[in-house]
């Protein structure tokens, strides 16, 4: 959804000109004339370069420019014209388009749609039939307080048809929304032009994680203001006033042009995280508003240091961690007598977790304010974690906020306040530090919810200075499993499983199991493990956020008796049954979220009257010089077979360039785990 920060709505006020005409025109040089579609376009049955495409954007044209108006100053205009070919029924969704309009926080300033027109073209015999989009295909809906959705749905959609629509959004806001340069269908021709007047300085960024980069051209053109009244003022009632020079009535515009052909479709890949991180796009950062002499009248965030400082200066941020009087009495006793700041942090974060529940909202600004959140027992991320920081500070602990961009917020392309959408707490002592997020009941010191494990964090100190900190868990999570196997005479198996799980893996397991009833925990453990019955299940919280799981099991379908010999694989139900990496190739990395280590110790007691005939071969494999290691060591030891196996993943990311090697590596692991032990009668 397209929402914009409320505080930027104000910026528009900064420049108020009087008595001027619309300035901006754009060249009408285009191959695609609106309202004229060729027979060839309609006859095309499949996309010539991507036969998997259900639809294709034949032409996408977007113009963003600023128009000076008498009363409202510069207004942002965004014209969008798209011509889309729909090959088959799977592409019919492209016939419906939703336009999100930001309605401002007060409702006084809002975005509006105009010049909305559309046609559907079909081939009837040899003739091109054209159906117009009418009012009955347009819907306006107040989605919520901030957003209006205008939906259009094109008439007369049939396989092979071409649709075309054009509209303009007029916005009183200076924020330029990201311009998408890629869709999940191919774009044949893209033509984007963004023109910004010299008074607004935008920094421009393209997404470096994308696999497609367009050709971008930047230029500058001179414009003359027809000064009907002889002068215009760069003034506004509330902001900086600067007299304009009568004679200086020309200014320049910055123009960014993207003209390209054959933009490939963005295709979904499993385990890549949010595909939004990989779309090709242009982002625009308003860095300054200038006066007519070209000097900055007002500057905006341009370095992460400045961004951090401006966030810190907000009353809803910096002030929140200074206010302590409302909880002083309540917490005095909690950390009394404890000197270790990390211990204090553990106690107080638990206290905050019981007192204030997270309402599910992210944010770097306190929504209710720490005081009200504390009183009402509910708050957003900033309410909760800033409260924790305030409490820790009041107890003499060196605690400070760390700004974060969550996984679904992605990695920002440039320093912007939107780049941070979350805040956590950091405690430092004698060169060591811990990170804490008190919004999650299962998280603990240095074990953060996965939504936070993205990019890096920005630590802000009391004086407003800031620097980067790594958010990646310093400790590799571990899952250590001991599996005891006893083969019975009736070919069933019984035994015991003991697992010790640490750090973020423990957090994952706790989220999965802790909310369930005992019955459902057992059912969840039994799932996908074949004909198993689990008993005496115990889940136990251990120190440092670890989780211990133990249970007894009986398994009736694991052993095959073929021709008097017994066949089974030593990891039983613990074996990975299939490789999840099925794509032949990838464009984007695999994201495991956290580094981890899986360890197995299996102890198999042989049944009476049988001996080992064949064991799987022991093997050690490495991927990329040890970034991932796998070992599988089987030994016979008297009446026992012992297996120890380890999967060691040191980096959570697998680069797409390494994918085919990794896929093969992982496939081998699955194969190895499926290898059979053969027992024969003595």
């Amino acid at each position: 959804m397209n929402t914009k920060p409320h505080n930027l709505s104000k910026m528009k006020k900064l420049l108020t000109f009087t008595a001027l005409l619309a300035l901006v025109t754009f060249a009408k040089a285009q191959d695609f004339k609106f309202g004229k579609v060729s027979k060839e376009e309609l006859q095309e049955k499949v996309h010539p370069m991507d036969s998997s495409a259900n639809a294709a954007v034949l032409s996408k044209k977007e113009r963003i420019y600023f128009v000076l108006t008498d009363y409202d100053g510069f207004m942002q205009h965004r014209e969008v014209t798209e011509r889309i070919k729909i090959y088959n029924k799977e592409g019919y969704d492209w016939a419906t388009k939703k336009i999100f309009l930001y309605q401002g926080s007060s409702g006084a300033k809002k975005e509006k749609v105009s010049n909305l027109k559309g046609y559907t073209y079909n081939l009837e015999g040899t003739k091109v039939a054209k159906t117009k989009l009418k009012k009955d295909g347009m819907f306006e809906e107040d989605y919520n307080d901030f957003t209006q959705i205008n939906t259009i749905t094109m008439p007369n959609i049939q396989d092979g048809c071409v649709i075309e629509y054009t509209y303009k959004i007029v916005s009183p806001f200076l924020v330029i929304d990201d311009v998408a340069l890629q869709y999940n269908v191919p774009i044949n021709k893209i033509n984007v032009k963004i023109t910004t007047p010299q008074f607004y300085r935008y920094n421009k960024f393209n997404n470096t994680k994308a696999s497609y980069f367009p050709r971008v051209k930047e230029s500058r053109e001179k414009r003359t203001l027809p000064t009907r009244r002889g002068s215009f003022l760069g003034t506004s009632a509330t902001e900086n006033t600067s007299a304009y020079n009568n004679t200086n009535n020309s200014y320049f515009e910055d123009i960014l042009t993207i003209v390209d052909t054959n933009v490939p479709a963005l295709k979904e890949e499993a385990y890549a995280g949010s595909m939004g991180n990989y779309i090709s796009k242009m982002s625009f950062e308003l860095s300054a508003i200038l006066n007519e002499f070209g000097a900055p009248q007002k500057s905006f965030s341009s370095t992460w240091e400045q961004v951090s400082k401006s966030i810190y200066k907000r009353p809803s941020f910096g002030d929140q961690i200074k206010r302590t009087n409302f909880f002083d009495d309540d917490i005095a006793s909690i950390a009394a007598g404890i000197d270790n700041p990390f211990q204090k942090a553990a106690l107080l974060s638990n206290y905050v977790k019981t007192k204030v529940k997270w309402n599910g909202y992210y944010g770097v600004s306190a929504y209710k304010g720490t005081k009200d959140a504390y009183k009402e027992g509910e708050g957003n991320v900033a309410d909760i974690n800033l409260l924790l920081i305030a409490m820790l500070k009041s107890q003499g602990v060196n605690a400070n906020p760390v700004l974060v961009s969550t996984k679904n917020n992605g990695v920002p392309l440039y320093p912007t306040r939107k780049g941070f959408n979350y805040v956590i707490c950091m405690v430092e002592n004698q060169g060591q530090y811990v990170l804490i997020d008190a919004t999650d009941k299962f998280s603990s010191l240095n074990v953060l919810p996965e939504r936070v494990l993205n990019w890096k964090g920005r630590l802000i100190k009391d004086d407003g200075s800031s620097n980067w900190v790594s958010l990646m868990p310093s400790q590799q999570s571990q899952e250590s499993t001991s599996l005891n196997i006893k083969l019975e005479e009736d070919l069933s198996i019984s035994g015991k499983v003991r697992q010790m799980i640490t750090s973020n893996l423990a957090l994952r397991y706790k989220k999965r199991y802790m909310g369930l009833s005992k019955d459902d925990q057992v059912k969840s453990i039994e799932e996908d493990k074949g004909a198993i019955e689990v008993a005496n299940l115990k889940l136990e919280n251990k120190d440092n956020n670890a989780l211990a799981i133990s249970y007894d099991y009986e398994l009736t379908d694991a052993i095959d008796d073929i021709g008097g010999k017994l066949y089974f694989s030593p990891l039983l139900f613990m074996a990975e049954k299939e490789s999840p990496f099925k794509l032949d190739e990838r464009k984007y990395p695999i994201d495991f979220s956290i580094p981890f280590k899986d360890k197995y110790k299996v102890n198999i007691m042989l049944p009476q009257g049988y001996k080992v005939e064949t064991l799987p071969q022991s093997e050690v494999m490495e991927f990329k010089g040890g970034e991932i290691k796998f070992s599988f060591v089987v030994k016979e030891n008297g009446n026992f077979i012992q297996l120890s196996s380890e999967f060691d993943l040191k980096s959570a990311y697998i680069d797409s360039a390494d994918y085919s090697v990794f896929k093969e590596f992982y496939g081998k692991i699955v194969e190895k785990q499926a290898e059979q032990i053969v027992l024969s009668k003595i």
């Binding site: 998997s52 529940k357 004909a531 095959d560 066949y567 005939e613």
Partner: protein, 634 residues
């Protein structure tokens, strides 16, 4: 919080409201009888709903509901929301939150409730809205008291009584009462009262006490068939300004025909001429219907636009003709108009559309259903057309509207009929494969999967995918084969006979696992059952197998030189009430093995006592499907 989320088809406006009481102890979490805390995430302490019927177009619903919530899963049982539109006015909405010991900690007034469009994901536009409570609990347990008063002009949907409305919620007290201030006759029907502690004061006044929570169990027969309910219907009702009569399905159907359908079914002369010309080459009604169905599918698409008459009146057929899109009602009505133009009679048909089989209640007429299809009468057997799909074969209903009672809307009135039942022989999957094995355990194979009926419905989804996604689909479908590579895909979708034939050439390295000088090969490569139904210490609910089907498999496995069979089973046969299974392995010659397998599942309703037997049946199949052949490599 629950939204008015509806299936892909129509959205009918439901106003879900619930019950009333007052006693101080209801606000305290610690006064709940122990029995009610078992299998419950929340307990409805007191729930009272009064429905005042003042006239056929004037109904006033008062709800008071006190719920104690034990954990985050229980929040959904607050039921603190009301849907509304132009004909529904929310007069009062209030909520109070109490802590464990019954002390009030928070209060919400009407303006504190969130307000949103009740548009669900698939809906393009809807004029219905919803107000709901958005409250983040600080601590569990807590108790919420919710009070609402709603004035409705539409009386087609009188709130029904479902004291238990979901799994894992128990009920201490629930009361429901209709006060009839009019001379309109009100009929009611009760269901599943016997197994519960329910006091019937009159046909329109019921109370329930201490109803235990119900635990979800797999293969359950559908919660609505388990829980007690009371359904009311007014003999004279109003649906958004349209007055109607409803004493039985005949009345109701007649009203629908006259007031909702008639007048919406005109189509332009050009369309009439076109379909007449199209069908000129035949006199057979069914053949004409086929041609017109194809015509409609090519011309239109499905879009959900819910406006007017509670989402019950179809869009004008003229508009559908012009725009080329509509929802299920509009597309069905349009198809009906096209058929009429060529002299083929057909009936607008109201149904519950879902993969789960659910019938319109043949015994009690009340506004119900969530979807509309078209019935073309054809001698003994009615043909049903799904008009929202552009790809569905003619007359094919398996998976969404098969095997259930539906309401035909005819000029003479409503009629209940049953849709097509797909038997095991109608829903087949026949897999044949010719497999070559190498001495290192690699396989290559030509596989063909032929499906009909319900199984056609499951496989057909692959047809319109891109090649890349088709490849992924087959890798998922045969996820028992590691390192699978798909070389060639050829799919033939025979819509005339409704048979899908998928031909796939594939290979996989190391399919047979090595063990010293042996290869261990699972001969069932392409149709393995791996899922065992969940185990229950004590099964509480009866269970249901919704549809019958049949799988037949025949794989020929060619062995390379120097590889010989060391050991293998011969086969096994299982017979049970739930179905039958048989597999066989034969050695045709030194280097050829034939694996055959036939698996039939019956449909039916079964007692909970039989659940373990059903589980054992499936468990046995899972085990036999993993049967191995041991090969010796020389």
């Amino acid at each position: 919080m629950k939204f008015l989320k509806m299936p892909v088809a129509c959205v009918f406006l439901f106003l879900s409201t619930f019950g009333y009481s007052q006693s101080d102890s209801d606000y305290k979490a610690n006064t709940i009888p122990l029995q009610l805390k078992i299998k419950a995430n929340a307990v409805v302490r007191f729930d009272k709903q009064i429905v005042e019927v003042n006239d056929f177009d004037d109904m006033y619903v008062t709800t008071t509901r006190i719920v104690t919530v034990f954990n985050e899963y229980g929040n959904r049982h607050q039921n603190a929301y009301e849907g509304y539109d132009n004909n529904t006015k929310i007069k009062k909405m209030e909520a109070r939150i109490y802590n464990e010991s019954g002390k009030e900690i928070k209060k919400f007034k009407l303006r504190d409730f969130s307000d949103e469009s009740a548009v669900s994901g698939g809906t393009l536009y809807s004029d219905s809205r919803v107000k709901y409570l958005s409250y983040t609990p600080v601590k569990y347990p807590y108790t919420i008291e919710y009070v609402s008063e709603v004035q409705m002009k539409s009386t087609a949907f009188v709130p029904q009584w479902h004291p238990i409305d979901d799994y894992y919620v128990s009920v201490e007290n629930s009361e429901y009462k209709i006060i009839n201030n009019s001379d309109i006759k009100i009929r009611t029907k009760s269901e599943n009262f016997d197994a519960y502690n329910i006091e019937v004061i009159s046909d329109t006044h019921v109370k329930a006490k201490n109803l235990n929570g119900i635990k979800y169990e797999a293969y359950n027969p559908g919660i609505s068939n388990i829980i007690p309910s009371l359904k009311p219907a007014l003999s004279t009702f109003n649906m958004e300004g349209v007055k109607g009569e409803n004493n039985n399905w005949e009345d109701f159907g007649k009203w629908m025909y006259n007031k909702l359908i008639t007048g919406t079914d005109a189509i332009p002369q050009s369309a009439i001429d076109e379909v007449k010309a199209l069908t000129a080459n035949t006199t057979d009604n069914l053949e004409k219907a086929k041609q017109i169905y194809q015509y409609m599918q090519d011309k239109t698409r499905y879009i959900s636009v819910q406006v007017g008459i509670g989402g019950w009146k179809p869009m004008d057929a003229t508009d559908v003709d012009k725009l080329g899109y509509s929802d299920c009602k509009g597309l069905t009505n349009y198809t009906k108009a096209l058929l009429e133009a060529v002299g083929v009679p057909s009936y607008y048909t109201v149904v519950w559309g879902d993969d789960d089989i659910k019938s319109i209640d043949s015994e009690f007429s009340v506004t119900e259903g969530n979807h509309v299809i078209l019935c073309v009468p054809n001698n003994e057997e009615n043909v049903f057309l799904e008009c929202t799909s552009q790809t569905n074969p003619f007359g094919f209903t398996a998976g969404f509207t098969d095997d259930r009672d539906v309401l035909l809307v005819t000029p003479e009135g409503g009629k209940i009929v049953h849709t097509k039942v797909y038997n095991a022989d109608d829903s087949q999957q026949i897999t044949t494969a010719n497999v070559s094995l190498t001495a290192t355990g690699d396989i290559s194979a030509q596989v063909e999967v032929k499906t009909t009926g319900y199984q056609y419905n499951l496989h057909e989804r692959v047809v319109n995918k891109s090649l890349r996604d088709q490849k992924l689909s087959y890798k998922e479908y045969w996820d028992n084969i590691n390192n699978l590579e798909i070389a060639l895909i050829d799919i033939n979708n025979n819509k005339e006979d409704v048979v899908l034939t998928e031909s796939v050439d594939l290979k996989a390295s190391n399919y047979a696992s090595k063990s010293g000088s042996r290869l261990i090969l699972m001969p069932n490569m392409f149709n393995r059952v791996t899922n065992i139904p969940p185990r229950y210490e004590k099964r509480n609910l009866d269970f249901k197998l919704q549809r019958a089907y049949k799988d037949v498999d025949k794989f020929i496995i060619n062995l390379p030189e120097g590889v010989a069979v060391e050991a293998m089973g011969e086969g096994e046969k299982i017979e049970s009430n739930f179905g039958s299974y048989e597999y066989k392995i034969e050695q045709l010659n030194d280097n050829k093995i034939k694996y055959t397998r036939t698996y039939i599942m019956n449909k039916g309703n079964y007692n909970k006592e039989d659940y373990n037997a059903f589980r054992d049946f499936k468990k046995h199949i899972v085990k036999l499907d993993k049967t191995k052949i041991v090969l010796k490599v020389n």
